[in-house]
Symmetry: C2
Subunit: 100 residues, 2 copies
């Protein structure tokens, strides 16, 4: 049965994952260290949430070297962008209280 919260995506309940997806839908890509800084997280915490989003197919990763420095960039996939937009729509609808 549908309820007023059933379209809220449990993957995005975590504020860290919400933050990651927000950054990756505003910017086309973001580097690990940029995400770490903007979200104020430890390496381990950020990496763990990125793995969850990647395993769900919501983000993808691109590793390359710039000179000698390794750069790890993250992107939102189309599936991730769509899922995030649906989540925001569900939040908006819930907050407006249209269905009560």
């Amino acid at each position: 049965m549908d309820s007023i919260i059933s379209n809220i995506n449990k993957f995005f309940e975590s504020r860290v994952r919400l933050g990651i997806m927000s950054v990756l839908t505003v910017q086309s890509k973001a580097e690990f260290n940029h995400l770490k800084e903007i979200l104020n997280l430890t390496d381990g915490n950020l990496a763990s949430h990125l793995r969850v989003l990647e395993s769900r197919g919501y983000i993808s990763v691109n590793k390359k070297f710039e000179g000698r420095k390794p750069k790890t960039n993250y992107f939102a996939t189309n599936e991730g962008k769509n899922a995030f937009q649906e989540h925001l729509n569900a939040l908006e609808e819930l907050i407006k209280g249209q269905k009560f």
Copy 2:
């Protein structure tokens, strides 16, 4: 240090608690069975989240009898309303991506 997610309230990460607070800020009060139906939850799950919100001071409870029937009504406290509003503001700011 402040980050773009630090004003997102961890108490409201759960979509159930988000749903409860949304209902209780749109309606002045809601009965246990109404919340259970509108959020499509089991008694145990709803009761557990209500206890968390009550222990945090975000909602209060009023139990009375209407005839022979016990009625349990829930209200958002002023503290709860303020905290929820701040949470929504933080979500809005994050989603707008103003700070990236």
